[in-house]
C-alpha cells in the first residue's frame, strides 16, 4: 500500500520558498509528487493546465490572496471546481477556519506545519472528497 500515494499529485501555492521546501520534503516522505506555485495567479493557471488530486493553499501572498484563489477554483464550470483544497496558513485569527471553509476550503492546517496533522488533513480530505463516490482507490 506504500506505492499508491506516489500517484497523488499535489499543487502547493505558497510565496515563501522555505515553506514550499518544508512541505515538499514532508510530502516527499509519503512519496507524494508536489508541484509548486509562488503566487496565486500562477497556481490558478497551473490548475487550468495540469491535473492535480489536491491543492495546498497559503493565504497571505503578494497579489491575489489564497481565499480569493479558492473562490476562483470553486467558481469553475468544470470538474476541477471540486478539487480538494487544504489551506496552510500562519494566520491565527479567530474566524480563520470559518473564513476558509466559507471560501470553499475543505480543511485548514496551521503553520508551523505539524507533519502528522498535515497528513491527517490530507488523508481525511482525500478519503472524503478524493476519487469517485467511494473515495480514493487504494492501489
Amino acid at each position: 500500500m506504500t506505492a499508491e500515494t506516489s500517484d497523488v499529485d499535489v499543487l502547493f501555492v505558497e510565496d515563501n520558498e522555505m515553506n514550499r521546501r518544508v512541505v515538499r520534503d514532508m510530502l516527499g516522505i509519503a512519496g507524494v509528487n508536489v508541484a509548486e506555485a509562488p503566487e496565486a495567479a500562477t497556481g490558478l493557471r497551473m490548475i487550468d493546465e495540469g491535473d492535480y488530486d489536491l491543492i495546498l493553499m497559503d493565504l497571505r501572498m503578494p497579489g491575489m490572496d489564497g481565499l480569493t484563489a479558492i473562490r476562483h477554483i470553486r467558481a469553475r464550470k468544470d470538474a476541477k471546481a471540486n478539487l480538494p483544497v487544504i489551506v496552510v496558513t500562519a494566520d491565527t485569527s479567530l474566524t480563520i477556519r470559518e473564513d476558509c471553509l466559507a471560501a470553499g476550503a475543505d480543511d485548514i492546517v496551521h503553520k508551523p506545519v505539524a507533519m502528522n496533522l498535515l497528513f491527517d488533513a490530507m488523508g481525511r480530505t482525500l478519503t472524503l472528497r478524493g476519487g469517485g463516490d467511494e473515495g480514493p482507490i487504494l492501489a
Binding site: E4, P112, M115, M122, E134, G135
Partner: protein, 550 residues
Amino acid sequence: MHLERGLKIAESPEAARERPFLNAVKAELYFSEGMYNASASLLDDVFKGKDFEKTTPSYKYFHELAADVYSKVGRNDVALQHFEAFKRLDDEARELMVNTNSALVAAQFDFANQDLKIARLQADQLKKDAELARSRNRIILIVLGGLALTVGLLGFNFLSLRRSSRQTIKANTQLSQANQALETALKARSEFLATTSHEIRTPLNGILGVTQVLLSDPGLSTEVRDRISLMNGAGETMRAMVNDLLDMAKIESGTLTIEKGETDLSGLLDDALSLWTDKAREKDLDLIIDRSGAPGRILEDGPRLRQIVFNLLSNAIKFTEAGSVRLSVGVETAGIGERLILRVTDTGIGIPSDKLDAIFESFQQVDGGVTRRFEGTGLGLSISRRLAEAMGGTLGVESQIGEGSTFTLILPLVRAGAAAAASAGASGGVFLIIEANPLTQSVLKSVAVPLGLPVETTASPETAAEVLSGGYITVALVDAAALGPDRTARTAAIAGLVAAGARGLAVTWPSPEPEDIEAALAAGAVKVIAKPISAARLTEALLTLLPESA
C-alpha cells in the same frame, strides 16, 4: 447706752410691729431692777387686746415673765392667766419638739431617699425645663431652622445635583475615553500579537518542518537523531509559547470561542500523548494511558480539549523526575447527564497545599522567580483552567509533596450521534494500523472512522510488537508489501505478528492469488483484503472484523 437707743428705736413708727417684743424686753429689765409696777404697766400694754389662748409661741417667754411680774404686784388672777398661757405654749412647744424630733429622725431615715427624690425631682424639673426650653426652641428651630434647612437643602441639592451630574458626565466621558483607549490598546495588542505570531510562525515552520522531515528518516544515527530532536523540541516549545500568548490574549479580551464538534476522543488523546512519548522516554518515565472507561466519539471542542490534555501532560512530565505519568479517562453519571472525567496523575515533586491555587495563575511556577528550573511560559495551566471553564467544566488538582499530583478535568459529556452508540457498544478495543507511509496511514485512519474504535498507528511490523503486547488491539491492519517481498516472507511475518498478540489481523494484499489468501489465513490472519480497493469498500471489509459483526 445701747438699750436707750434700742428703746428709742422701739418708739419710732417703723418699729411699731416689733414694739410688743421690745416693750416685753423693757418690762423684763424693769422687773430685774425691782421696778415691778413699771414692768407690769409695760406688760399690760404688750398683752393689750390679746387672746391668751391664741398667743403664738414667741410670747411664751413674755407670759412667764408676766406671771412673775403680776404675782409680785399682787394681780394674781392676771398672773394665773399668764401662767396658763405660758403652760399652754410650753406644752405646745414640747409637743412640737417631739414631733420635730420624730420628723427629724424620719427625715434622717429618709435622707438618702430624699436626696435621691430631690435629685430626681431636680432632674425631672431640669428635664421638664429643658424639654420646655427645647420644645420652645424646637418649635422656633423647626420653624426657623426648617425654613433655613429647606432653603439650604434646596440649594445644596441643587448644587450637588449639578455637581454630581457634572461628575457623572465627567466620569462617563472619562470612562468612555478610557474604554476607547482600552479598546484601541487591546486591538493594537491583538494586531501586534497576530502579526508577531504570523511572522514568528514562518521561521518556526522552517525549523520544525526540516527537523520533522529529518527525524522521519529511520536511517538516522542515534547521535544525530538526538541533536535534531533537541532542535525540534526547542522549536515545539517556541510554538507552544506563541500559541499560549495568543490564547491568553484571546482569553483576556474575551474573544476566546469554544466550537463543539464531533470529536474522536481516543484519537485526540493519542495525538496529545504521542507528542510526549519521546520526552517521557528521554526522562525514563512510564507514560501510561488508561482509556478503558473512555467514551467513543463525543461532541466537544477537540482542539481545545487536546490543548488541555497536552498542557497537563507537559506539566506532569516536566515536574516528574522518576516514576510515571498516567492519563486516565472515564465517564461519570451524576445528577443530570454524564460527565467526562480525565485525570493526569504523576509521581512528581508535588505542589505545596498553599500553592494549589497559585499554579493556575498566569506565569506561576511553584518555585517561581529567578530560580525557575522549568522552561515554558507558565501559561499552560492558567490557559487550561480557563479553557475548561469556557467549555463548561472544571480543572482541579490534588497533590502530595514528594508523592505527586493528580489534575482532574471534568467536562459535561455529550456523545456524538450514531457512531457514539456504535462505539459505546463496542468492546473498547483499539484499531491498529501498521503502515510506514504517513499519508497512507492518515487515509487509513479516515477510512477506519466508522469503526468507532480508537486508532493507533505504528510504522512497521517490527515496531508493532510493542503495541501488540498491550493486549488491547481488536483489529490490526497491515499491507502485505510491508510484511515482505514474497508469499513465504509475508506468511512468516503474519505468524510473527499473531505470536506477538495480534488478534483480528487483516492484511491488504495486491491482487492476491488463492494460495496467498490460504497461506495468510493459515498463518493466523483473519482476513485478506484484495487491492486495489476503494476507501468505502475497505471500510465495509473492516467493519466485518468487529467482534459484534463477526
